[in-house]
Subunit: 380 residues, 2 copies
């Protein structure tokens, strides 16, 4: 087990009817003037916006709203909101939405203190401070509600990159699973697959990190079980709640304890792919790429890949484990081939080129352009 | 799954050669004059004290030392150290030791702001502030390095009680597993049993908290596996490290998410027993009482007790699971009967009387004096 530091200061407020606490939570943390960041308007339909607005008002807070954050959120939008935040002199940022909204809100919270936000994504400057970040989560999967990360796409440069800083941990995140009962099925599935791959990106580096690896296996099994249950009954509260909490745990630091920083090659490859094809949902892309990555990498840590097949899929071999994973994803109506995503062999060079911009990819094995192409071909 | 709030702000610095970071960590948090709390002197023998002293010095900190905290730590000692802390105007408290030392240090950190420390244990006053608490852990098991609790014994009143406050979370805890390689075997075992029972106190309340329950099972299995490995090779770093981290996770809040506040009846019964018999080590007492509690309670949540037997012990019934647990503890040279602890049937009324002082005991079932006696008799 490698030496590690674990520190996750985010407060999670979880459960039914919890959204209305947001005003009090921000006020207690010293916020007065809030920037509310949101997406396309689903929170108007499901009542979350009304509850949030009422709560902010009752707490005596004023706020300004920035709408229109899209899936695979872009730098241009974050910059636009930074200008608004600066003009309006907000002292707290509230994301009401899923991963894209949260990541944009985090980028803004840091960006108001930066000359150039993208320079931080390029690691030319370090993010050491940010406005306090609050979250009302409407879709589980990315883990952004309890992690120190933000992902944005620089459209012109075809880069979908990650910013990491302890300043990006939300102060508090509210997770009311009932809010997610109205999600379209494919969004639930994309979130589940995203969360599962967060665990796997760490897990496969494991050898002697028994505490972490056993915890990781318990989370993977739970995510699979709860998604099955939700497929049978999308309104089931317990399955929704357990899936939501498992997704938060999947990337809050615990799943990677002692495992260095994980091997996020598949995540980077997927973000490269969705930088090229912005219409691909992150979870869907991961569900296609991860099985291929496992098949390509299985000999680089064979005991752990075999353990994964056995413990998560009750399979006798890695190949069988991957086959069961693909069958499971298919059973959830998720794509398992690049073809289903509208990506063909001819697109592989562009995706590889986008991936290589990140720098070194892969920790279990440093992936060459040839490796990346081979993994993508295994996913065709 | 019940609604919950999860917040654990403690920073864990974990690994080989990490003890020497303590000075820098305290300095960075703003500490200048430190109260160092310690036990009977084992940290002088294993070099930990020298490393800590050098680190404090190098960070430019001054400090005052309070030695002599005993297992099952007492109020009188905490009061004595509070007087020292006030006289010396310390601004940070550093525990260098195991659970008893940490709990005393936490009590002092809160106590310097209180008229009467014990009134807080009696819940007559609330603890809202404390000096910043830092830990160098020398024995895993109690979880105090990452929890908001402190346990002290009021000797005259025969009360061993718990204080809980968010102010008691350590700011930072350093866990170097190599420090624990020199522990006597029975201390390793007592720590492992203590940690396992922390998980169980929550787990048996579970019904639909799949994420938490699966995580709890993974921790119980890991604790058992790692203790077996340490019995074969006490110097094995990986087993020691995994056991240490599992013990921290066992009571840092995660294992009880959605499970209200757990059913700590066995813990309270054990602390009552060791209030009457202060020579009984906490972990040893728990190893004796917990199997009896399970046998007595198994019909109050039968599906979960059966699941525990199956998932943790690969047993076909609760009785078989308990038998395997007792065999495991015996295999570790831990006591499994009250007789081995020097407690006889004639002592049961005194233990029950001490337990009843706490107030209501048990959440799965509110335990009557008759229930408590019956559980103790099952442990004879």
């Amino acid at each position: 087990m490698d030496n590690f530091t674990f520190h996750n200061p985010t407060r999670i407020i979880f459960g039914k009817e919890s959204v209305g606490q947001i005003g009090g939570v921000i006020k207690e943390a010293g916020g007065k003037r809030v920037l509310l960041v949101a997406g396309g308007g689903s929170i108007r339909k499901n009542g979350v916006y009304d509850t949030v607005a009422r709560s902010l008002k009752e707490a005596g807070l004023t706020w300004v709203e920035a709408w229109g954050v899209r899936p695979n959120p872009v730098l241009a939008k974050a910059r636009e909101i930074i200008a608004l935040a600066q003009k309006e002199k907000v002292d707290a940022v509230l994301a009401v939405g899923g991963g894209s909204v949260i990541d944009t809100a985090k980028s803004v919270a840091a960006g108001v203190f930066l000359q150039d936000l993208w320079a931080a994504f390029e690691r030319q400057v370090e993010v050491t401070t940010a406005l306090p970040i609050f979250v009302v989560l409407t879709m589980s999967g990315t883990g952004s509600e309890m992690d120190p990360l933000a992902v944005l796409t620089h459209e012109a440069d075809v880069k979908k990159w990650v910013l990491r800083s302890p300043a990006l941990f939300p102060v508090a995140s509210i997770i009311d699973p009932t809010v997610q009962q109205s999600l379209p099925w494919h969004q639930t599935v994309n979130g589940a697959i995203d969360a599962m791959t967060h665990v796997m990106e760490f897990y496969f580096l494991g050898t002697w990190e028994e505490t972490t690896m056993a915890l990781d296996e318990s989370l993977m099994r739970t995510i699979i079980k709860m998604t099955h249950l939700l497929q049978q009954n999308p309104l089931g509260y317990e399955a929704r709640a357990n899936l939501a909490w498992a997704a938060s745990l999947a990337l809050n630091g615990l799943t990677g304890v002692g495992l260095r920083e994980g091997d996020f090659a598949t995540h980077r490859l997927e973000t490269a792919m969705s930088a090229v094809f912005p219409e691909i949902a992150h979870g869907a892309g991961l569900g296609v790429l991860f099985p291929a990555w496992i098949l390509y990498m299985k000999d680089y840590n064979p005991a752990t890949f075999a353990r994964w097949a056995r413990e998560v899929w009750e399979a006798g071999s890695v190949e069988e484990g991957v086959a069961r994973m693909r069958l499971t994803f298919q059973g959830w109506d998720a794509p398992v081939t690049l073809e289903e995503l509208g990506v063909s062999e001819a697109d592989i060079p562009a995706i590889v080129a986008a991936a290589l911009k990140v720098g070194i990819l892969g920790r279990l094995k440093e992936l060459t352009p040839g490796d990346l192409s081979a993994i993508l071909r295994l996913a065709l």
